[in-house]
């Protein structure tokens, strides 16, 4: 009986979803039914490299970029772009600066937690540094510090540009940021002191959460006001992701943190509905919005398929919300819910392929540009890791695989591939593009960007490989009741040490990034007049 209800609900919802997406593609909901159309200033074709170099370098780059040409941009377009940027630069600067601070704090907390896993007596006498707290500080500083600050900072910067308007009510966003950060400081302090609501991702005491809700709502007000004053007819795909994410997160956060409603096993289901949606319906959309904007922007190529964008967006919106219970396979949560979440986890390959294919078309024939542009390099890596971690996550949800990987470090490796390899790398890429506009200054040391990139890639690579293998072996050991439990602990030690090495590299990458950021902000270092490129083509070396 339960199976029949579940099956009919599944089929009906899929049919409705297909109908809805077809309607969107055909433009049935639009006032005039042209659906997709080219939406930007006709004459405005820029140069083929984001931080386009000197004329000679530009020429060299154009050889890799069939669509590049030297048409002067439409002056009105430039004016609107400048007006948009001027309206956001202070606010974006504040958000991104906060992001850098939280990134450093979270990195050191994470590294400490990682080392404690294999050196359990290290710093063991300090209660606030005990594993259970420092690990939680790491997660919260990232999830409520770096990721939203960077993601919202970029969203605030992108939206006026995409809507051809200026930011409305920027001072509200600033106030929101202040409240949010004040709440976060209080929340982290509370966790360090041992005041925790006790659920993963929802540790901050609910009294503190109020500050974050109010702060977040104020930021959202700014964005809603901006959206209403748009000067474009068509909403670009990045706007969908940002708009929806800003709408979803407050709902999630509010439902998740309401005290006194949830109970026992039901609370566990809610916990992972929230936990996975913080990732799926907040961080992921913000990062995808970043990629959808900056990747075609820097490449100078349009997004090929509006239809694919729609398919990717609405299937993500539908399926991602329902995957949370795959964290509870085999638990006392109702079985139908688990089955549903497993199926929807597998369905997530649809938005992932839609996104990946769309980006592939954008990059087609221009892959050489990855050599030069820092932004592109980070974004392309992020896009790849999105595909990799999502497909991995889909299969990880299947019972047969989950039985091994659940409860092990494998899951931790997967989570970092998604949140770091994908989300954080996408945000880094966006920040490298935005900061020169915000500061009206070039990055002083392009080599440091390269160092950041490779340390991050090496770090997450080592981290992921170590935990994937270690976690798998740990899971296999736990499933064999003839092997004592302690074996599943001791066999992971070399992999946990590997994880610390990977974590140390990532931390180092962030220190480099932060130092570079500070140098740029304080106008230290050489005042360069050419954009920061990894490899300046010959002819521009003079």
């Amino acid at each position: 009986m339960a199976t029949i209800i579940l099956l009919s609900a599944f089929i009906i919802s899929i049919v409705a979803l297909v109908f809805f997406i077809v309607a969107m593609i055909r433009g049935w909901f639009d006032p005039d039914s042209k659906g997709a159309e080219v939406i930007f200033a006709a004459n405005e074709i820029g140069n083929p490299e984001d931080p386009a170099a000197s004329p000679e370098a530009r020429k060299a780059l154009e050889r890799t970029s069939p669509e590049g040409d030297d048409h002067a941009p439409d002056p009105r377009e430039l004016e609107s772009r400048a007006a948009a940027d001027r309206s956001t630069d202070t606010i974006t600067f504040v958000f991104l600066s906060c992001a850098i601070v939280w990134l450093l704090a979270a990195s050191f907390a994470g590294l400490t937690a990682s080392i404690k896993m294999h050196e359990p007596d290290w710093l063991g006498a300090y209660e606030w540094l005990t594993f259970g707290r420092i690990r939680t500080l790491h997660l919260n500083a990232l999830a409520y510090g770096f990721l939203p600050m960077a993601g919202l900072g970029l969203a605030i910067w992108m939206l006026p540009r995409l809507l051809k308007t200026t930011l409305v009510g920027g001072q509200f966003a600033l106030l929101g940021a202040i409240l949010w950060n004040a709440g976060l400081i209080a929340g982290l302090g509370a966790i360090a002191a041992g005041f925790s609501d006790g659920m993963e991702w929802l540790e901050m005491p609910w009294q503190v959460d109020i500050l974050l809700v109010v702060g977040g709502a104020i930021v959202a007000v700014t964005l809603v006001l901006t959206l209403r004053r748009r000067n474009v007819d068509h909403l670009y795909v990045s706007v969908w992701y940002m708009g929806a994410a800003l709408f979803w997160f407050p709902i999630l956060f509010l439902v998740g943190n309401i005290p006194g409603v949830h109970f026992g096993v039901q609370q566990a289901a809610m916990n992972w509905w929230y936990g996975h949606n913080a990732l799926g319906l907040f961080f992921t959309p913000l990062a995808l919005a970043t990629i959808y904007y900056f990747l075609p922007k820097v490449m100078g190529t349009p997004v090929k398929s509006y239809a694919l964008s729609l398919l990717g967006f609405w299937t993500l919106a539908f399926f991602y919300g329902q995957v949370g219970a795959h964290h509870l396979i085999g638990s006392p949560v109702p079985g139908w819910l688990i089955t549903l979440s497993i199926v929807q986890s597998m369905m997530m390959v649809i938005p992932v392929f839609a996104f990946s294919v769309n980006q592939y078309y954008t990059m087609q024939g221009k892959l050489r540009m990855l050599l030069h542009s820092p932004t592109l390099r980070f974004l392309a890596f992020a896009g790849l890791m999105y595909a990799a971690s999502s497909v991995q996550g889909s299969f990880e949800a299947l019972r047969a695989i989950n039985t091994v990987t659940h409860f092990t470090h494998y899951t931790v490796g997967h989570a970092h591939l998604g949140l770091y390899g994908f989300v954080a790398m996408a945000l880094f890429g966006g920040m490298y593009f935005v900061m020169p506009r915000v500061m009206q200054r070039e990055w002083p040391y392009p080599k440091l960007i390269l160092v950041h990139f490779w340390l991050s890639v090496a770090g997450i690579g080592i981290y992921f490989i170590a935990l994937t293998f270690g976690g798998w072996f740990q899971g296999m050991a736990m499933l064999d009741a003839t092997r004592p439990f302690m074996e599943s602990v001791t066999l992971t030690l070399p992999y946990l040490k590997g994880r610390s090495i990977g974590g140390a590299l990532m931390t180092l990458a962030h220190v480099v990034f932060a130092a570079h950021f500070v140098a740029m902000v304080l106008r230290l270092g050489p005042a360069r007049d050419a954009p920061a490129l990894f490899y300046v083509p010959k002819g521009d070396r003079a």
Binding site: L7, F40, I45, R86, R161, S305, Y306, L328, P531
Partner: protein, 197 residues
């Protein structure tokens, strides 16, 4: 700064991105269809026999009270691993200064009813094992284990790690249980137990 001023960085960019109208590639449509079919099959293949309040995939008979165990089905080694090993260790050697050894212990090898009574009620206070005094507390197991189980684990302990004492029968445990039925607290170490030895 003058809001109209366009910085060098802004000037050199490409146009903001836009979308073209390519339709969804056929392979993606095929993928969608395949995934939906997969979903239908996965739901059909799922276990629907467990009521929601019992959780994901439950073996119902495990959730019900077990029938009284008989000596055939009780594994003393498994009980030892589940209930004793943390203190007395897998080697039966205990932890020096903390938990007394069972390997070579004069208490283990002694009269069967004594080991039965110790497991039933636990010990509190100084207990001398092989000449070394231990000052700890062993919890009682009279609630957690029935006579057959206590007999099985006592038998296991009496023949492991070089111990070679005869098995303990369930009847011995049952008799010890009846004899000490009124007891509510653990044995007071040597003070009470030494006399029985």
């Amino acid at each position: 700064m003058d809001p109209k001023q366009v910085s060098a960085q802004e000037k050199r960019e490409h146009a903001d991105p836009h979308e073209q109208a390519m339709s969804i590639p056929i392979p993606i449509l095929i993928l969608v269809a395949l995934m939906v079919i997969f979903g239908i099959f996965y739901i059909l293949a799922g276990d629907s026999s467990t009521p929601p309040e019992y959780g994901d995939q439950r073996t119902m008979k495990d959730l019900m009270a077990k029938a009284a165990s008989t000596s055939d089905s009780v594994d003393g080694a498994a009980i030892y691993t589940a209930r004793c090993v943390a203190c007395h260790q897998a080697t039966g050697a205990g932890l020096p200064g903390v938990f007394p050894p069972l390997a070579g212990s004069d208490w283990v090898a002694g009269k069967p009813e004594v080991i039965a009574k110790i497991v039933l009620h636990g010990v509190q206070g100084t207990l001398t094992v092989n000449g070394t005094a231990f000052n700890g507390a062993m919890p009682p197991f009279k609630e957690q284990m029935n006579d057959v189980e206590i007999a099985a684990v006592a038998t296991y302990v009496r023949k492991s790690w070089g111990n070679a004492a005869p098995p303990v029968g369930a009847a011995v445990v049952a008799a010890a249980r009846t004899e000490t039925a009124s007891r509510t607290e653990p044995w007071k170490g040597d003070a009470e137990l030494a006399a029985m030895k």
